[in-house]
Structures are given as C-alpha cells and as structure tokens.
C-alpha cells in the first residue's frame, strides 16, 4: 500500500495541545503542593524562601496559560480546519456515531480494521469535548478562588459550585480527572501508534498524518 503525508493539525492546534499539556503538568505539580504543602521548618529554620508564594505564582501563571489554551481550542471548534471543527468528531452525526461504535470495537480487540480518518475518531473526540468542559469548570473554580472579591466570579462560583470551600474541593477533585485523562490518553496514543499506520504520535509535532494513497 502506498501512503501519502497529509496535513491534519494546524500550527495553532499543535500550540494549543502543548501549552495545554505542559500547563496541566505545572498545575498538577504545584497544585499538589498547595493542597498539601510540606513544612519548611523541618528543612530550613530561617526560611527566606517563599515556597508557597512561589508555588502559587507558578500555579497562577500556568492557570492563565491553561485558560488561553482552552480558549484557543474552543475557537478552533468553530474556526479551525476540517479535522479541528467540532462536528468532525462529535458523535451526533450518523457518520460519527458509526465511528464511535467501530472505534470501541477496535479498542476492545473485537475487530482488526479501523476506519481511516485524518482527524479524531469519535470516541477520542467525545472525551476531548468532556475534557474541555472539565477545563472550563476548572477555570471557573480557579478564578472563583483567584478573584475572591469579584462579584462576577462570586456569582459564577456560587451558581456552579457553592461556597468557596466547595469550589476549592471541586477544583481539587476535577484535577484528578486531568491526571486520569493524561494517563489514559498517553496509553491510547501509544497503542494506536503501534497498531495503526498513520503516525499518530509524530502528528502532534509536525501536524502530518499518513493516509493510504488513492490510486
């Protein structure tokens, strides 16, 4: 079979992916410290290291990067290329619903062939949508805590989460979604890269996938 290399992901999409991924790493690491900090007294007596302040600073910077990345992805849902548009992967059309079931069967080793797609398969697309929804909730709960004296964020937070305490709790719980997602995402990408021929992993760096060439 002859393959051709075709552009799947725009530069903006790839930038979104990497800023999103790296900000999540920074947010989770600093978030764990903020949630359960170690005590400096046991390490240094006369601490002039503002550990918590530094961790929070990194957390906030990463939070803004994360917010920017999510805004870019939502923008690309409507304005991106064909693969990046939301209707290309959301399992609401018959094409995508069919793809959802065939992908599940493929992942469960029930069938060996898969539908060749340049963009996301419908299962991945569904979870990417859930991830962006979770990210938006995470951003709102984050800004609820970041701007405690803003009546706008207070209204949003009270409506969606309840008091600051509940917002904080949910912010922490939502973090676990991103840890789990990263874990599963990583496995499925590697699994796909081994089983399929489209060069999935390199596509997020160079934007190109391999497709069977129509003769």
């Amino acid at each position: 079979m002859i393959y051709e290399r075709r552009l799947a992901w725009s530069v903006l999409f790839r930038l979104f992916h990497w800023f999103f991924a790296l900000s999540i790493v920074a947010l989770v690491v600093t978030g764990f410290y903020i949630g359960d900090p170690w005590t400096n007294t046991t390490v240094i007596k006369e601490g002039k290291i503002f550990t918590m302040e530094y961790m929070r600073y990194v957390h906030f910077i990463a939070g803004f990067v994360f917010t920017g990345a999510v805004i870019v992805r939502i923008y690309l849902w409507g304005a991106g290329n064909r693969q990046e548009k939301i209707m290309d992967f959301l399992p609401v059309t018959s094409r995508n619903l069919k793809n959802l079931f065939s992908t599940v069967a493929f992942y469960l080793y029930l069938k060996d062939n898969y539908e060749d797609r340049l963009g996301h398969n419908a299962l991945a697309g569904l979870f990417y949508l859930i991830t962006i929804v979770m990210a938006v909730l995470q951003i709102i709960s984050g800004f609820y805590m970041f701007y405690p004296e803003s009546s706008f964020w207070q209204s949003c937070g009270l409506l969606l989460f309840g008091t600051q305490g509940q917002g904080r709790f949910l912010h922490h719980l939502f973090m676990w979604y991103f840890i789990l997602f990263a874990f599963v995402h990583f496995y499925i990408v590697v699994w796909n890269d081994i089983r399929c021929q489209d060069g999935l992993i390199s596509s997020i760096f160079n934007g190109r996938k391999f497709r069977p060439k129509k003769v």
């Binding site: 005590t39 002039k48 305490g165 509940q166």
Partner: protein, 364 residues
Amino acid sequence: MSRNVHGFDLEARLNRRTFLKGCAMAAAALGLSDDMFPKLVKAASSPRRPPVVWLHFQECTGCTEALLRASHPDIGRLILDIISLDYHETVMAAAGNQAEENLRSTLERYNGRFLCVVEGAIPTKDGGIYCKIGGRTAMEILEDVAPKSAAVIAIGTCASFGGVQAASPNPTGAVGVRDLFNARPVINISGCPPNPVSFLGTVLHFLTFKRLPPTDQLGRPLFAYGRRIHDHCERRPHFDEGRFADQFGDSGHREGYCLYKLGCKGPETYSNCPTVRFNDVGAWPVGIGHGCIGCTEPRFWDTMTPFYERLPHVSIPGTNGISSSADSAGSKILGITAAAIGIHAAAGIGKRFLKNKPAETDNT
C-alpha cells in the same frame, strides 16, 4: 472610663466618650470618612430612631450573648443604647402576655418603620411545629412581623443560612430568613456568633443612610464580609513562606506558624475576624491557635467538615457512608485505571500470540 481590677466597667450609664468611641469603631468598620462621622453620631443619638423587634427562633442565644457579654460591656451597652429595643426575649423585663402585648403594640405603632432582627433558623417541616413561642410557630411569627418591618437583619449563621440546625439530614427542615421571606430587604450578618461590630455597623448604616449597606451575593454586608479571612490573617506570612503547624502543640504551632495544614478554613471564608477581632481584647480563633471553621459560610457544618483537614471527604458510592479523602480516592481510581491499562495491553499482546500474526502487516 472607670474600671476595677477585673476590667469591668462599673458605671451603669454609657457616657458620651464611650458612645463616640463605639460609633467611631463602627464607622471605621464601615469604612466611612471623617465627614460622615457627625452624621452617624447624630443618627445614632436621634430620639426618633426606629425601634427594634428582636425575634428568637431555633438558636442558642449565642449571638445575643456575644453582643451583651463582651469582655467589658461597652459594645453591648452601646447597642442597647443606640437601638430602641422594644421586644427581645432574652433581655426584656416583660414576660408572658405583657411581652406579646409589647410586640403587638410596636407592630401597630411603628408599622413599616421598625427594624426586625431575627436570631435563629426557622423550622419548616411538619408545619413548623419544632419552634413555637406563645403558641405560634416561628413561621407564623416571621410572617406576621417581617412584612411590617422596614428591613430585616438576620443575625448569626442560623438566621442567615440555617446554620447547625440545617446540617444534614436537617430533621426540622430549618432554613434561613431569606429562604422564606424577601418582601422587605434582608441582610445577613452571618457567623457563629457574628462580630458585634458587624451588627452595630449595619444598624448604624441603616440609621444614618436609611438603607442597608451594600452586600455580596449571599446578602452579607461587604464592609464586614467583603474579604477572605486568609487575606488579612496575621499568620499569612508563614503561609507564604511555607511554614506550617503540622499538629496541635508541635514546635510549628508553638512558633505561631500557619494553621493551614490543621484544616484552617480561612482561605475559603469571608469575614472581618482578623481585623475587627472579638471581645475588644484583640482575640480571635486563628490568633489563639485554632484554625477557622468557616462559620460565616452557608452549610458550613456540612461543607467545612472535617474541621481539622483541608478538604471534605468523598463518599464512596455503594458503601453506605464510607468516605475517603479526595487524594486517596483519586489515587485508588488511578491505580484501577493503571490495572485496566495493563490488562488491555496484555490482552492485545495475548491476542497477537494466539493469532500468530506477523509483527509487520504493512508492506509500504
């Protein structure tokens, strides 16, 4: 101000100096400028100031106690001096029918002009029978009194949000004033108990400007509940430098380090406790070494517990109430996910072996 060795003020009457000091304290808490101060004093000493009807429902009288039994009684006396208290079950001399008659005549004479202060939650289950005064349920009394008032001040977390009575499973169906009544402006002075200065400031604001002070989204006055405890805490530098008390009584605790790891809810609680403090002696919970329990927030009994841990527990579905910390639940789910991934990968490898497939199927 004359004081004996016990620190009690022996003078029975409130003198002008103490009166002005109290007004100045409330004006400072309200953030009023110097220009407004004479206006405030004038309003507070006007003989035509509105009377107050103080209703007690499901409560412990702790809010009243906090007002009246400050370390030296200036604030309590000031409040009693400024407001003309026509009905207050704890401090009024009248009893029985005489007391109820006082209430009735105040409602008639000052219809639409008096201030209604509510202390305690209102039980609503089974027709509200869980709190009755003079043969009437709390719901009936509120329905009778509140619509005739100029404004309602809900004092304490119970009257504001239901408080401890409303904690799950809330057997009496207790609710705060705002859940039942909003025909008149209602302001929430939450806290368990709230700071008397927050109450005094609200009353003085009302007397001076004829309206209640601006509030946050939960109906609490911004001058007292506009900022989180954490952001004004004297232990905040220790937080920023990562110095914490790990246990009560450990070296960090004795050094006065941050109580964050002991479950202090200061970062998620709005109140002026760190700046105004209690009992006129500069004491407040975090100052004396105990973390904040978040008593000014709605449903604090349900959402701020465990008080000595940072976050609430996650109840595990299907186990009838067994709970676990968020991180322990999260890492368990992560472990299950890792196991699932392992099984999935093994199944793929196993299938390949069974089918005896060649490793490379494509011939580019």
